[in-house]
């Protein structure tokens, strides 16, 4: 049940024909894990907390560094050297006391995620390197938890979602195979323009809200490419390409054995 105060707080989204009170209740009941509280995790978590997502788990092992403040907009100068998850939780809880926030001061890996993902409705991948992206992909796939993956470097961003509640979903490895070597460059080595993280991180929160309330996603099985230099946004569909593991899975599950996939659209 939505209280009178909540009805006021969330009035501008409850009145949207695509949302309504039922959508607000779905947001309140949702458990979402945000992995990485850097340049993408900050805006994504800010908008999820503001929208009333009931339970947020923030995962990051880092402390706030002076070089973060140019783009990681939850952190202020007096937060230097404090754990990011602790500062972020304080800020988000102050913005919205009506939600539950859990912090995990840890660098997630596949084992860590596999142990904890049961019962989550969604994972946001806001991390900064290829290794952890593939670990998140494998763990979400194994646990049947949808994932929305965002990334930004320089002036370029990418956003793609996989709904592992469905049988036959493609995965991140179908798009970018696990390479032997890490591709060159992250924000630390190649730089990044702050507001591009705001654009892509906010778009990630938008897709998250849509997934949680059952609206169709623009990034499902589709790589959204953002080029901040030209303010261009393009959509590239994954199509029928599947990685070896997805092909195997698909061969193993005969139509009779498939449970009904829950789709987001």
């Amino acid at each position: 049940m939505i209280s009178h105060k909540e009805r006021i707080r969330y009035s501008r989204q409850i009145m949207l024909p695509q949302m309504g009170e039922a959508a607000q209740e779905k947001l309140a009941a949702a458990r979402v894990m945000v992995v990485g509280m850097g340049g993408l995790g900050c805006p994504a978590a800010l908008y999820l907390a503001a929208a009333g997502v009931g339970e947020l788990h923030l995962v990051d092992g880092d402390e706030v560094d002076l070089s973060n403040l140019q783009r990681q907009v939850l952190y202020k100068t007096n937060h230097l050297h404090k754990p990011k998850v602790q500062v972020a939780a304080q800020q988000l809880q102050a913005a919205n006391p009506g939600i539950r926030i859990h912090t995990h001061m840890a660098m997630a890996d596949e084992g860590w995620l596999l142990e904890r993902l049961a019962g989550f409705d969604l994972v946001l991948d806001c991390t900064d390197n290829m290794g952890i992206r593939h670990a998140i992909n494998r763990a979400c796939r194994a646990r049947g938890v949808p994932v929305i993956m965002a990334s930004v470097q320089g002036f370029s961003g990418q956003l793609v979602s996989f709904d592992f509640r469905r049988d036959g979903s493609p995965c991140y490895a179908c798009l970018f195979p696990e390479a032997e070597r890490e591709p060159a460059g992250n924000c630390e080595t190649s730089g990044v323009i702050g507001p591009a993280l705001g654009v892509v991180g906010s778009a990630q929160a938008l897709e998250a809200i849509k997934l949680l309330v059952g609206l169709p996603l623009g990034s499902l099985d589709t790589l959204q490419v953002f080029e901040a230099e030209h303010l261009e946004w393009r959509s590239l569909a994954l199509g029928k390409r599947r990685c070896a593991e997805c092909r195997e899975d698909s061969a193993a599950s005969t139509p009779d054995l498939r449970r009904n996939g829950t789709t987001v659209g």
């Binding site: 990485g36 850097g38 340049g39 993408l40 995790g41 806001c126 991390t127 900064d128 390197n129 290829m130 992206r133 965002a150 990334s151 930004v152 470097q153 320089g154 370029s156 961003g157 990418q158 798009l175 970018f176 195979p177 390479a179 890490e182 591709p183 460059g185 992250n186 924000c187 190649s190 990044v192 993280l197 790589l223 490419v225 080029e227 230099e229 030209h230 393009r234 959509s235 590239l236 569909a237 994954l238 199509g239 390409r241």
Partner: protein
């Protein structure tokens, strides 16, 4: 004519975001070969396992065919955040 687009770090590396090619017909692989012949300095950037290709906004293999009117996009993974 085909339209060739480059995304993310390829734009800086190749110094170009878009080009148009007259009279090409062949596979993605042969398109790559034509581009690297015309711009030899592109080879190290395009001939990279991490680069993906989309033909008409859909991910394609290197033996996918490309013909007049098609749009071909080359893009690497972006992994920062």
């Amino acid at each position: 004519m085909i339209k060739v687009l480059f995304f993310a770090r390829l734009r800086q590396q190749l110094g170009m975001g878009e080009l148009r090619l007259e009279d090409f017909s062949g596979t993605v692989r042969s398109l790559c070969a034509v581009l690297c012949e015309r711009y030899p300095q592109w080879r190290e950037h395009l001939d990279d396992d991490a680069i993906r290709v989309a033909v008409n906004q859909e991910l394609a293999d290197s033996d996918a065919s490309v013909a007049a009117g098609d749009e071909v996009a080359f893009f690497p993974p972006v992994t920062g955040g």
